[in-house]
Protein backbone atom coordinates (compact mmCIF):
# COMPACT_ATOMS: atom_id res chain seq x y z
CA UNK A 1 0.00 0.00 0.00
CA UNK A 2 1.24 3.49 -0.82
CA UNK A 3 1.78 5.93 2.03
CA UNK A 4 2.55 9.60 1.97
CA UNK A 5 5.89 9.95 3.73
CA UNK A 6 6.65 13.50 4.79
CA UNK A 7 10.21 14.21 5.83
CA UNK A 8 11.78 16.93 7.87
CA UNK A 9 13.65 19.24 5.57
CA UNK A 10 17.13 18.30 6.74
CA UNK A 11 19.87 15.77 6.00
CA UNK A 12 18.25 15.19 2.64
CA UNK A 13 20.57 12.40 1.57
CA UNK A 14 19.86 10.42 4.73
CA UNK A 15 16.10 10.32 4.52
CA UNK A 16 15.28 7.55 2.10
CA UNK A 17 18.11 5.28 3.28
CA UNK A 18 16.79 5.60 6.84
CA UNK A 19 13.30 4.54 5.80
CA UNK A 20 14.75 1.71 3.72
CA UNK A 21 16.82 0.46 6.65
CA UNK A 22 13.86 0.62 9.02
CA UNK A 23 11.65 -1.12 6.48
CA UNK A 24 14.12 -3.98 6.52
CA UNK A 25 14.00 -3.98 10.31
CA UNK A 26 10.20 -4.02 10.60
CA UNK A 27 8.93 -5.47 7.34
CA UNK A 28 9.76 -9.11 7.49
CA UNK A 29 9.99 -9.96 3.85
CA UNK A 30 13.10 -11.84 2.92
CA UNK A 31 12.72 -11.01 -0.76
CA UNK A 32 15.23 -8.19 -0.41
CA UNK A 33 13.38 -6.15 -2.95
CA UNK A 34 14.11 -2.46 -2.79
CA UNK A 35 11.35 -0.18 -1.55
CA UNK A 36 9.26 1.54 -4.19
CA UNK A 37 9.29 5.33 -4.05
CA UNK A 38 7.79 8.14 -6.02
CA UNK A 39 7.57 11.88 -5.63
CA UNK A 40 4.40 13.93 -6.20
CA UNK A 41 3.84 15.51 -9.56
CA UNK A 42 6.19 18.41 -10.26
CA UNK A 43 8.18 17.77 -7.11
CA UNK A 44 11.95 17.63 -6.86
CA UNK A 45 13.51 14.56 -5.17
CA UNK A 46 14.62 16.83 -2.33
CA UNK A 47 11.03 17.80 -1.62
CA UNK A 48 9.81 16.71 1.81
CA UNK A 49 6.85 14.92 0.22
CA UNK A 50 7.38 11.35 -0.96
CA UNK A 51 5.25 8.30 -1.53
CA UNK A 52 6.49 4.93 -0.35
CA UNK A 53 5.05 1.48 -0.78
CA UNK A 54 4.92 -0.47 2.49
CA UNK A 55 3.22 -3.71 3.45
CA UNK A 56 0.93 -2.45 6.22
CA UNK A 57 -0.09 0.37 8.55
CA UNK A 58 1.83 -1.34 11.34
CA UNK A 59 5.06 -1.27 9.38
CA UNK A 60 4.50 2.37 8.41
CA UNK A 61 3.83 3.25 12.06
CA UNK A 62 6.89 1.39 13.34
CA UNK A 63 9.11 3.07 10.78
CA UNK A 64 7.76 6.54 11.47
CA UNK A 65 7.94 6.17 15.25
CA UNK A 66 11.53 4.97 15.21
CA UNK A 67 12.74 7.33 12.49
CA UNK A 68 14.46 10.63 13.11
CA UNK A 69 13.81 12.19 9.72
CA UNK A 70 10.25 11.11 8.97
CA UNK A 71 7.88 13.79 10.18
CA UNK A 72 4.96 11.53 9.57
CA UNK A 73 3.51 8.67 7.55
CA UNK A 74 0.01 9.28 6.25
CA UNK A 75 -2.74 7.38 4.55
CA UNK A 76 -3.44 9.80 1.73
CA UNK A 77 -7.16 10.56 1.32
CA UNK A 78 -6.66 13.00 -1.48
CA UNK A 79 -4.33 15.44 -3.17
CA UNK A 80 -4.74 18.18 -5.70
CA UNK A 81 -3.34 21.37 -7.07
CA UNK A 82 -6.34 23.36 -5.92
CA UNK A 83 -8.80 23.00 -3.07
CA UNK A 84 -11.47 21.96 -5.59
CA UNK A 85 -9.28 19.19 -6.94
CA UNK A 86 -8.57 18.10 -3.39
CA UNK A 87 -12.30 17.97 -2.61
CA UNK A 88 -12.93 15.81 -5.66
CA UNK A 89 -10.12 13.47 -4.68
CA UNK A 90 -11.26 13.10 -1.07
CA UNK A 91 -14.86 12.50 -2.11
CA UNK A 92 -13.84 9.78 -4.52
CA UNK A 93 -11.61 8.06 -1.93
CA UNK A 94 -13.47 4.84 -0.99
CA UNK A 95 -15.91 5.28 1.89
CA UNK A 96 -14.94 2.01 3.52
CA UNK A 97 -11.43 3.41 3.99
CA UNK A 98 -12.74 6.63 5.47
CA UNK A 99 -15.74 5.75 7.62
CA UNK A 100 -13.89 3.78 10.35
CA UNK A 101 -12.09 6.98 11.27
CA UNK A 102 -15.09 9.30 11.13
CA UNK A 103 -17.43 7.49 13.52
CA UNK A 104 -19.23 9.34 16.30
CA UNK A 105 -17.46 7.45 19.10
CA UNK A 106 -14.03 8.60 18.05
CA UNK A 107 -12.18 11.84 18.61
CA UNK A 108 -10.11 13.65 16.02
CA UNK A 109 -7.95 16.63 15.25
CA UNK A 110 -7.04 18.37 12.01
CA UNK A 111 -3.65 20.03 11.69
CA UNK A 112 -2.88 22.45 8.89
CA UNK A 113 0.75 22.49 7.85
CA UNK A 114 2.60 24.18 5.06
CA UNK A 115 6.01 23.89 3.45
CA UNK A 116 7.75 27.00 2.15
CA UNK A 117 5.32 29.50 3.62
CA UNK A 118 3.63 30.48 6.84
CA UNK A 119 -0.14 30.43 7.19
CA UNK A 120 -1.86 32.63 9.69
CA UNK A 121 -4.12 31.10 12.29
CA UNK A 122 -7.07 32.56 10.43
CA UNK A 123 -6.05 30.97 7.14
CA UNK A 124 -5.59 27.66 8.89
CA UNK A 125 -9.04 27.83 10.43
CA UNK A 126 -10.38 28.76 7.06
CA UNK A 127 -8.83 25.69 5.49
CA UNK A 128 -10.33 23.47 8.16
CA UNK A 129 -13.78 25.01 7.65
CA UNK A 130 -13.50 24.24 3.96
CA UNK A 131 -13.19 20.54 4.77
CA UNK A 132 -16.83 20.49 5.89
CA UNK A 133 -17.60 18.12 3.02
CA UNK A 134 -15.89 15.33 4.96
CA UNK A 135 -18.56 13.79 7.23
CA UNK A 136 -16.73 14.00 10.56
CA UNK A 137 -19.07 12.70 13.26
CA UNK A 138 -16.64 12.33 16.13
CA UNK A 139 -15.71 14.97 18.64
CA UNK A 140 -12.72 17.23 18.37
CA UNK A 141 -9.94 16.57 20.83
CA UNK A 142 -6.86 18.67 20.30
CA UNK A 143 -4.65 17.04 22.90
CA UNK A 144 -5.19 13.31 22.64
CA UNK A 145 -7.30 12.51 19.62
CA UNK A 146 -7.88 8.96 18.40
CA UNK A 147 -7.29 10.04 14.82
CA UNK A 148 -5.07 12.81 13.53
CA UNK A 149 -5.71 14.34 10.14
CA UNK A 150 -3.32 16.59 8.30
CA UNK A 151 -3.83 19.12 5.56
CA UNK A 152 -0.46 19.97 4.08
CA UNK A 153 0.35 22.27 1.24
CA UNK A 154 3.37 23.59 -0.56
CA UNK A 155 3.96 27.10 -1.72
CA UNK A 156 3.78 27.91 -5.40
CA UNK A 157 6.00 30.90 -5.83
CA UNK A 158 9.69 31.69 -6.00
CA UNK A 159 12.11 30.29 -3.48
CA UNK A 160 11.23 27.07 -1.78
CA UNK A 161 13.51 26.57 1.18
CA UNK A 162 16.45 26.40 -1.14
CA UNK A 163 14.92 23.78 -3.39
CA UNK A 164 14.31 24.33 -7.07
CA UNK A 165 10.93 26.05 -7.23
CA UNK A 166 7.90 23.81 -7.28
CA UNK A 167 6.11 24.48 -10.51
CA UNK A 168 2.66 24.08 -9.13
CA UNK A 169 1.46 23.89 -5.59
CA UNK A 170 0.14 20.65 -4.23
CA UNK A 171 -2.28 20.09 -1.36
CA UNK A 172 -2.40 16.82 0.55
CA UNK A 173 -4.94 15.53 3.01
CA UNK A 174 -4.35 12.35 4.96
CA UNK A 175 -4.68 10.42 8.16
CA UNK A 176 -1.58 10.17 10.31
CA UNK A 177 -0.29 6.64 10.82
CA UNK A 178 2.74 7.57 12.89
CA UNK A 179 5.29 10.29 13.45
CA UNK A 180 8.84 10.51 14.68
CA UNK A 181 9.75 11.21 18.23
CA UNK A 182 12.29 13.98 17.97
CA UNK A 183 12.19 14.63 21.69
CA UNK A 184 15.02 12.11 21.68
CA UNK A 185 17.31 14.76 20.28
CA UNK A 186 16.98 17.36 23.06
CA UNK A 187 17.17 14.55 25.61
CA UNK A 188 20.48 13.33 24.23
CA UNK A 189 21.88 16.63 22.97
CA UNK A 190 25.60 16.99 23.34
CA UNK A 191 25.53 20.25 25.22
CA UNK A 192 24.06 18.60 28.29
CA UNK A 193 26.23 15.50 28.07
CA UNK A 194 28.73 15.16 30.88
CA UNK A 195 31.73 13.86 29.00
CA UNK A 196 32.55 15.08 25.53
CA UNK A 197 35.45 14.70 23.15
CA UNK A 198 36.42 16.92 20.23
CA UNK A 199 34.68 14.67 17.72
CA UNK A 200 31.71 13.43 19.72
CA UNK A 201 28.95 12.42 17.33
CA UNK A 202 25.84 14.54 17.64
CA UNK A 203 22.82 12.73 18.94
CA UNK A 204 20.71 12.88 15.80
CA UNK A 205 23.49 11.41 13.68
CA UNK A 206 24.24 8.71 16.26
CA UNK A 207 20.59 7.61 16.11
CA UNK A 208 20.61 7.70 12.33
CA UNK A 209 23.71 5.52 12.32
CA UNK A 210 22.04 3.07 14.70
CA UNK A 211 19.04 2.94 12.39
CA UNK A 212 21.26 2.30 9.37
CA UNK A 213 22.85 -0.53 11.35
CA UNK A 214 19.44 -2.13 12.11
CA UNK A 215 20.09 -1.96 15.83
CA UNK A 216 17.58 -3.72 18.05
CA UNK A 217 17.52 -5.43 21.45
CA UNK A 218 19.78 -8.44 21.79
CA UNK A 219 22.21 -7.34 19.07
CA UNK A 220 25.88 -6.82 19.77
CA UNK A 221 27.31 -3.58 18.36
CA UNK A 222 30.98 -2.65 18.25
CA UNK A 223 32.74 0.68 17.76
CA UNK A 224 36.52 0.35 17.25
CA UNK A 225 37.02 4.12 17.71
CA UNK A 226 34.72 4.54 20.67
CA UNK A 227 36.10 7.75 22.18
CA UNK A 228 33.51 9.13 24.56
CA UNK A 229 30.94 6.57 23.44
CA UNK A 230 28.75 9.02 21.56
CA UNK A 231 27.92 6.57 18.76
CA UNK A 232 27.28 3.62 21.06
CA UNK A 233 24.84 5.72 23.08
CA UNK A 234 22.57 5.81 20.04
CA UNK A 235 22.82 2.03 19.67
CA UNK A 236 22.27 1.43 23.39
CA UNK A 237 19.16 3.59 23.31
CA UNK A 238 17.65 1.19 20.78
CA UNK A 239 18.48 -1.75 23.01
CA UNK A 240 21.76 -3.12 21.67
CA UNK A 241 24.57 -4.56 23.75
CA UNK A 242 27.54 -2.35 23.03
CA UNK A 243 31.27 -2.85 22.98
CA UNK A 244 33.98 -0.34 22.20
CA UNK A 245 37.71 0.05 21.85
CA UNK A 246 40.00 3.02 21.57
CA UNK A 247 43.72 3.50 21.27
CA UNK A 248 43.68 6.34 23.75
CA UNK A 249 43.48 4.89 27.23
CA UNK A 250 42.88 8.26 28.87
CA UNK A 251 39.58 8.52 27.06
CA UNK A 252 38.20 5.05 27.73
CA UNK A 253 39.58 4.53 31.22
CA UNK A 254 39.83 7.88 32.93
CA UNK A 255 37.69 10.45 31.20
CA UNK A 256 37.67 13.61 33.24
CA UNK A 257 37.03 12.14 36.62
CA UNK A 258 34.78 9.66 38.38
CA UNK A 259 31.59 11.21 37.12
CA UNK A 260 32.70 12.37 33.70
CA UNK A 261 33.72 9.39 31.62
CA UNK A 262 32.33 6.94 29.11
CA UNK A 263 30.43 5.02 31.79
CA UNK A 264 28.83 8.15 33.20
CA UNK A 265 27.57 9.09 29.75
CA UNK A 266 25.54 5.87 29.65
CA UNK A 267 24.47 6.28 33.26
CA UNK A 268 23.28 9.81 32.56
CA UNK A 269 20.59 8.48 30.25
CA UNK A 270 19.81 5.35 32.23
CA UNK A 271 21.19 3.17 29.44
CA UNK A 272 22.81 -0.22 30.02
CA UNK A 273 26.60 0.09 30.26
CA UNK A 274 28.73 -1.18 27.41
CA UNK A 275 29.42 -4.88 27.87
CA UNK A 276 33.05 -4.26 27.09
CA UNK A 277 35.44 -1.37 26.75
CA UNK A 278 39.08 -1.89 26.04
CA UNK A 279 42.18 -0.17 24.85
CA UNK A 280 43.29 -1.66 21.58
CA UNK A 281 44.76 -0.63 18.28
CA UNK A 282 42.54 -1.15 15.28
CA UNK A 283 45.71 -1.84 13.33
CA UNK A 284 46.58 -4.83 15.52
CA UNK A 285 43.31 -6.02 17.04
CA UNK A 286 43.74 -8.42 19.97
CA UNK A 287 40.91 -10.80 19.03
CA UNK A 288 41.66 -14.44 19.56
CA UNK A 289 42.37 -16.53 16.48
CA UNK A 290 39.26 -18.28 15.28
CA UNK A 291 36.94 -15.65 16.68
CA UNK A 292 34.65 -14.47 13.92
CA UNK A 293 31.09 -13.44 13.17
CA UNK A 294 30.33 -12.13 16.66
CA UNK A 295 29.13 -8.58 16.02
CA UNK A 296 25.78 -7.78 14.48
CA UNK A 297 26.94 -4.31 13.52
CA UNK A 298 30.04 -2.18 13.56
CA UNK A 299 29.32 1.54 13.74
CA UNK A 300 32.07 4.11 13.82
CA UNK A 301 33.49 7.43 12.80
CA UNK A 302 37.09 6.57 11.87
CA UNK A 303 39.82 9.15 12.49
CA UNK A 304 40.17 10.94 9.20
CA UNK A 305 43.82 11.78 9.69
CA UNK A 306 43.21 15.21 11.09
CA UNK A 307 43.79 13.70 14.48
CA UNK A 308 46.46 11.23 13.41
CA UNK A 309 49.14 13.07 15.39
CA UNK A 310 47.26 12.30 18.54
CA UNK A 311 47.34 8.62 17.91
CA UNK A 312 51.08 8.18 18.20
CA UNK A 313 51.10 8.65 21.96
CA UNK A 314 53.37 6.41 23.99
CA UNK A 315 56.02 6.15 21.30
CA UNK A 316 53.72 4.16 19.12
CA UNK A 317 54.30 3.97 15.41
CA UNK A 318 52.69 6.64 13.34
CA UNK A 319 49.86 5.78 11.05
CA UNK A 320 51.02 4.63 7.71
CA UNK A 321 49.57 3.51 4.45
CA UNK A 322 49.44 3.04 0.74
CA UNK A 323 46.59 2.54 -1.65
CA UNK A 324 45.10 -0.86 -1.01
CA UNK A 325 43.34 -3.18 -3.42
CA UNK A 326 39.91 -2.31 -2.10
CA UNK A 327 40.46 1.23 -1.00
CA UNK A 328 40.75 4.57 -2.71
CA UNK A 329 42.51 4.16 -6.07
CA UNK A 330 45.57 6.19 -7.06
CA UNK A 331 43.92 8.69 -9.34
CA UNK A 332 41.35 9.60 -6.74
CA UNK A 333 43.66 9.57 -3.80
CA UNK A 334 44.93 13.12 -3.99
CA UNK A 335 41.42 14.31 -4.52
CA UNK A 336 40.26 12.84 -1.27
CA UNK A 337 42.63 14.20 1.29
CA UNK A 338 45.43 16.68 0.88
CA UNK A 339 49.09 15.73 0.91
CA UNK A 340 50.12 12.56 2.73
CA UNK A 341 47.02 12.31 4.83
CA UNK A 342 45.52 9.55 2.68
CA UNK A 343 48.10 7.24 4.16
CA UNK A 344 46.42 7.27 7.47
CA UNK A 345 42.92 7.22 6.07
CA UNK A 346 43.60 4.47 3.58
CA UNK A 347 45.23 2.12 6.03
CA UNK A 348 42.60 2.84 8.61
CA UNK A 349 39.84 1.95 6.16
CA UNK A 350 41.72 -1.17 5.10
CA UNK A 351 41.93 -2.31 8.71
CA UNK A 352 38.32 -1.44 9.37
CA UNK A 353 37.03 -3.41 6.38
CA UNK A 354 39.20 -6.38 7.28
CA UNK A 355 37.98 -6.31 10.87
CA UNK A 356 34.36 -5.99 9.79
CA UNK A 357 34.67 -8.74 7.20
CA UNK A 358 35.89 -11.11 9.87
CA UNK A 359 33.88 -10.06 12.89
CA UNK A 360 30.44 -9.32 11.46
CA UNK A 361 27.77 -11.97 11.13
CA UNK A 362 26.50 -12.62 7.61
CA UNK A 363 23.93 -9.92 6.97
CA UNK A 364 25.59 -7.73 9.62
CA UNK A 365 26.19 -4.11 8.83
CA UNK A 366 29.19 -1.83 8.79
CA UNK A 367 28.16 1.81 9.11
CA UNK A 368 30.87 4.47 9.04
CA UNK A 369 31.78 7.92 7.87
CA UNK A 370 34.09 8.48 4.94
CA UNK A 371 35.54 11.92 4.22
CA UNK A 372 35.33 13.45 0.75
CA UNK A 373 37.16 16.49 -0.49
CA UNK A 374 34.79 18.57 -2.58
CA UNK A 375 37.70 20.01 -4.50
CA UNK A 376 36.70 19.08 -7.99
CA UNK A 377 33.18 19.75 -9.14
CA UNK A 378 33.36 16.74 -11.45
CA UNK A 379 34.36 14.56 -8.56
CA UNK A 380 31.28 15.30 -6.53
CA UNK A 381 28.78 12.56 -7.06
CA UNK A 382 31.10 9.96 -8.49
CA UNK A 383 33.49 9.49 -5.65
CA UNK A 384 34.82 5.97 -5.42
CA UNK A 385 34.07 4.45 -2.06
CA UNK A 386 35.96 1.59 -0.41
CA UNK A 387 35.04 -1.87 -1.62
CA UNK A 388 35.52 -5.32 -0.19
CA UNK A 389 34.69 -8.77 -1.61
CA UNK A 390 32.60 -9.63 1.47
CA UNK A 391 30.53 -6.47 1.37
CA UNK A 392 27.82 -4.78 -0.62
CA UNK A 393 27.48 -1.03 -0.33
CA UNK A 394 23.78 -0.30 0.09
CA UNK A 395 23.68 3.38 0.82
CA UNK A 396 25.85 6.46 0.84
CA UNK A 397 24.56 9.69 2.29
CA UNK A 398 26.50 12.88 1.96
CA UNK A 399 26.57 15.57 4.60
CA UNK A 400 28.28 18.72 3.43
CA UNK A 401 30.42 20.20 6.16
CA UNK A 402 31.91 23.15 4.33
CA UNK A 403 32.60 24.23 0.80
CA UNK A 404 35.67 22.00 0.81
CA UNK A 405 34.77 18.98 2.87
CA UNK A 406 31.90 16.69 3.23
CA UNK A 407 31.48 13.35 4.89
CA UNK A 408 29.56 10.43 3.56
CA UNK A 409 27.81 7.90 5.75
CA UNK A 410 28.38 4.50 4.15
CA UNK A 411 26.26 1.47 4.96
CA UNK A 412 27.70 -1.86 3.89
CA UNK A 413 26.15 -5.28 4.35
CA UNK A 414 28.23 -8.39 4.76
CA UNK A 415 26.99 -10.82 2.14
CA UNK A 416 29.79 -13.36 1.86
CA UNK A 417 31.89 -15.18 4.46
CA UNK A 418 35.44 -14.20 5.30
CA UNK A 419 37.60 -16.79 3.56
CA UNK A 420 41.19 -17.89 4.00
CA UNK A 421 42.13 -16.17 0.72
CA UNK A 422 40.71 -12.85 1.85
CA UNK A 423 42.47 -13.18 5.20
CA UNK A 424 45.76 -13.89 3.44
CA UNK A 425 45.39 -10.94 1.08
CA UNK A 426 44.67 -8.68 4.03
CA UNK A 427 47.73 -10.00 5.86
CA UNK A 428 49.99 -9.31 2.88
CA UNK A 429 48.60 -5.82 2.63
CA UNK A 430 49.12 -5.27 6.32
CA UNK A 431 52.79 -6.28 6.03
CA UNK A 432 53.23 -4.01 3.05
CA UNK A 433 51.91 -1.07 5.04
CA UNK A 434 54.35 -1.89 7.84
CA UNK A 435 57.40 -2.32 5.67
CA UNK A 436 56.92 0.87 3.75
CA UNK A 437 56.06 2.92 6.75
CA UNK A 438 59.59 4.10 7.57
CA UNK A 439 60.18 5.12 3.96
CA UNK A 440 57.03 7.22 3.88
CA UNK A 441 58.01 8.81 7.13
CA UNK A 442 61.30 9.88 5.58
CA UNK A 443 59.59 11.23 2.50
CA UNK A 444 57.59 13.66 4.48
CA UNK A 445 56.53 14.56 7.92
CA UNK A 446 53.17 12.87 8.24
CA UNK A 447 52.35 14.61 11.44
CA UNK A 448 52.45 18.14 10.10
CA UNK A 449 50.98 17.38 6.72
CA UNK A 450 47.90 15.47 7.76
CA UNK A 451 46.06 18.70 7.92
CA UNK A 452 47.07 21.12 5.21
CA UNK A 453 45.71 24.60 5.65
CA UNK A 454 43.21 25.37 2.97
CA UNK A 455 45.19 28.01 1.07
CA UNK A 456 48.27 25.81 0.76
CA UNK A 457 46.44 22.94 -0.80
CA UNK A 458 48.01 21.64 -3.97
CA UNK A 459 47.17 18.55 -5.90
CA UNK A 460 50.05 16.62 -7.49
CA UNK A 461 52.11 19.76 -7.92
CA UNK A 462 49.55 21.76 -9.85
CA UNK A 463 48.16 24.58 -7.85
CA UNK A 464 44.45 24.48 -8.33
CA UNK A 465 42.53 27.69 -8.13
CA UNK A 466 40.38 27.82 -5.06
CA UNK A 467 36.89 26.84 -5.84
CA UNK A 468 34.21 29.44 -5.78
CA UNK A 469 31.51 29.00 -3.25
CA UNK A 470 28.80 28.24 -5.70
CA UNK A 471 26.34 25.68 -4.52
CA UNK A 472 23.63 25.30 -7.09
CA UNK A 473 20.95 25.16 -4.48
CA UNK A 474 20.97 24.86 -0.76
CA UNK A 475 19.44 21.40 -0.63
CA UNK A 476 22.25 19.43 0.95
CA UNK A 477 23.27 22.24 3.25
CA UNK A 478 20.03 21.97 5.15
Amino acid sequence: MWYLCVFFHRLLDYRRPEVEALAELFQHNSSNEPLEWRVPENHHPDSPFHFVNLSSDDVARDIANRSLLVKGMYELWGEGSTLEELEQAIKSYPDERKSPYLSSESTFRITVDSFGKVMSFEEQNNRIQQLAYIPFEGRVNLKHPDHKFWLMETDDHGGNNGLPPVVQKRIFFGREIGGSDRTLIPTYQLKSRKYLGPTAMDAEMAFLMANQALVKPGKLVYDPFVGTGSILIGAAHFGAMTMGADIDIRVVRDGRGPDRNVWSNFKQYGLPMPVGLLRADNNLPPWRPGLKEVFDAIICDPPYGVRAGGRKSGGRKLLKGVVGPYTVPDDKRTDHIPSTAPYSLVECVHDLLDLAARMLVIGGRLVYFFPVLREDEANVGNTVFPEHPCFELISSSEQILSSRYSRVLLTMVKRRPYTEEIAEAARVKHTEFRENHVKWLEDGNIHSSVFTPADQLTVSGDTKPLRDLKPKYRGKYV
Partner: protein
Protein backbone atom coordinates in the same frame (compact mmCIF):
# COMPACT_ATOMS: atom_id res chain seq x y z
CA UNK B 1 36.12 -6.22 32.15
CA UNK B 2 33.50 -8.92 31.84
CA UNK B 3 34.29 -12.47 30.95
CA UNK B 4 32.60 -11.92 27.57
CA UNK B 5 35.46 -9.63 26.67
CA UNK B 6 38.01 -11.99 28.20
CA UNK B 7 36.63 -14.75 26.00
CA UNK B 8 37.30 -12.71 22.87
CA UNK B 9 40.82 -11.51 23.65
CA UNK B 10 44.18 -13.08 23.10
CA UNK B 11 47.76 -11.97 23.30
CA UNK B 12 48.69 -10.79 19.83
CA UNK B 13 52.39 -10.29 20.46
CA UNK B 14 54.42 -11.05 17.35
CA UNK B 15 55.46 -14.68 17.27
CA UNK B 16 53.02 -15.87 19.92
CA UNK B 17 51.07 -18.88 18.66
CA UNK B 18 48.86 -19.76 21.61
CA UNK B 19 47.87 -16.42 23.05
CA UNK B 20 44.51 -17.71 24.24
CA UNK B 21 43.11 -17.92 26.82
CA UNK B 22 44.73 -15.19 28.83
CA UNK B 23 45.28 -16.13 32.46
CA UNK B 24 43.54 -13.80 34.88
CA UNK B 25 45.33 -12.24 37.83
CA UNK B 26 42.65 -10.69 39.93
CA UNK B 27 43.14 -7.93 42.46
CA UNK B 28 39.58 -6.71 42.63
CA UNK B 29 36.50 -8.44 41.30
CA UNK B 30 33.06 -6.86 41.51
CA UNK B 31 29.59 -7.99 40.60
CA UNK B 32 27.18 -5.80 38.70
CA UNK B 33 23.65 -6.82 37.95
CA UNK B 34 22.68 -6.78 34.28
CA UNK B 35 19.27 -7.42 32.73
CA UNK B 36 19.08 -10.92 31.37
CA UNK B 37 18.52 -11.08 27.62
CA UNK B 38 17.88 -14.69 26.51
CA UNK B 39 18.07 -13.83 22.79
CA UNK B 40 21.49 -12.31 23.21
CA UNK B 41 22.70 -15.32 25.19
CA UNK B 42 21.43 -17.76 22.57
CA UNK B 43 23.08 -15.71 19.82
CA UNK B 44 26.42 -15.45 21.52
CA UNK B 45 26.56 -19.00 22.87
CA UNK B 46 28.03 -20.57 19.73
CA UNK B 47 30.75 -17.90 19.60
CA UNK B 48 31.97 -18.57 23.13
CA UNK B 49 34.96 -20.78 23.89
CA UNK B 50 33.19 -22.62 26.68
CA UNK B 51 36.20 -24.10 28.41
CA UNK B 52 37.89 -20.70 28.60
CA UNK B 53 34.74 -19.18 30.08
CA UNK B 54 34.19 -21.83 32.73
CA UNK B 55 37.87 -21.82 33.70
CA UNK B 56 37.94 -18.02 33.89
CA UNK B 57 34.79 -17.97 36.01
CA UNK B 58 36.26 -20.57 38.32
CA UNK B 59 39.49 -18.63 38.70
CA UNK B 60 37.39 -15.70 39.87
CA UNK B 61 35.55 -17.83 42.39
CA UNK B 62 32.40 -18.77 40.46
CA UNK B 63 32.37 -22.54 40.05
CA UNK B 64 28.76 -23.06 38.97
CA UNK B 65 29.41 -23.51 35.25
CA UNK B 66 29.73 -27.05 33.90
CA UNK B 67 32.96 -27.93 32.13
CA UNK B 68 31.16 -28.77 28.93
CA UNK B 69 28.09 -27.14 27.46
CA UNK B 70 25.98 -27.65 24.42
CA UNK B 71 23.25 -25.76 22.62
CA UNK B 72 20.37 -27.80 24.08
CA UNK B 73 21.23 -26.65 27.61
CA UNK B 74 20.08 -23.15 26.68
CA UNK B 75 16.49 -24.31 27.15
CA UNK B 76 17.05 -24.46 30.88
CA UNK B 77 16.40 -21.19 32.68
CA UNK B 78 18.76 -22.22 35.42
CA UNK B 79 21.60 -22.72 32.95
CA UNK B 80 20.82 -19.43 31.19
CA UNK B 81 21.00 -17.64 34.53
CA UNK B 82 24.41 -19.09 35.33
CA UNK B 83 25.72 -18.43 31.82
CA UNK B 84 24.43 -14.86 32.05
CA UNK B 85 26.03 -14.30 35.43
CA UNK B 86 29.42 -15.66 34.38
CA UNK B 87 29.47 -13.89 31.04
CA UNK B 88 28.17 -10.44 31.96
CA UNK B 89 27.92 -9.87 35.70
CA UNK B 90 31.38 -10.75 36.98
CA UNK B 91 33.75 -7.85 36.43
CA UNK B 92 37.49 -7.85 36.75
CA UNK B 93 37.97 -4.30 37.98
CA UNK B 94 41.68 -4.36 38.82
CA UNK B 95 44.24 -6.95 37.85
CA UNK B 96 45.98 -8.25 34.80
CA UNK B 97 45.65 -10.62 31.87
CA UNK B 98 48.71 -12.78 31.40
CA UNK B 99 49.87 -14.13 28.07
CA UNK B 100 50.03 -17.92 28.47
CA UNK B 101 53.12 -18.18 26.29
CA UNK B 102 55.36 -15.28 27.23
CA UNK B 103 54.02 -14.24 30.62
CA UNK B 104 53.58 -10.64 29.42
CA UNK B 105 51.00 -8.89 31.56
CA UNK B 106 48.25 -6.77 30.09
CA UNK B 107 47.03 -4.61 32.91
CA UNK B 108 43.35 -4.18 33.69
CA UNK B 109 42.57 -0.98 35.52
CA UNK B 110 39.19 0.57 36.23
CA UNK B 111 37.77 -2.35 34.30
CA UNK B 112 39.59 -1.51 31.07
CA UNK B 113 42.10 -4.03 29.71
CA UNK B 114 45.06 -2.36 28.06
CA UNK B 115 45.81 -4.54 25.05
CA UNK B 116 48.24 -2.19 23.37
CA UNK B 117 51.59 -3.72 22.50
CA UNK B 118 55.02 -2.18 22.97
CA UNK B 119 57.05 -1.27 19.90
CA UNK B 120 59.18 -4.40 20.08
CA UNK B 121 56.17 -6.68 20.28
CA UNK B 122 54.46 -5.74 17.05
Amino acid sequence: MRLLTHNMLSSNIKGVVNGFPLRIEAEKVIHKEVDLNPDFLRNIFSKIEWRALSDAARSLGYAELPEEAEESMLDSDEFLGKFHHALLEIHLEEGALVCPETGRKFSVSKGIPNMLLHEDEV
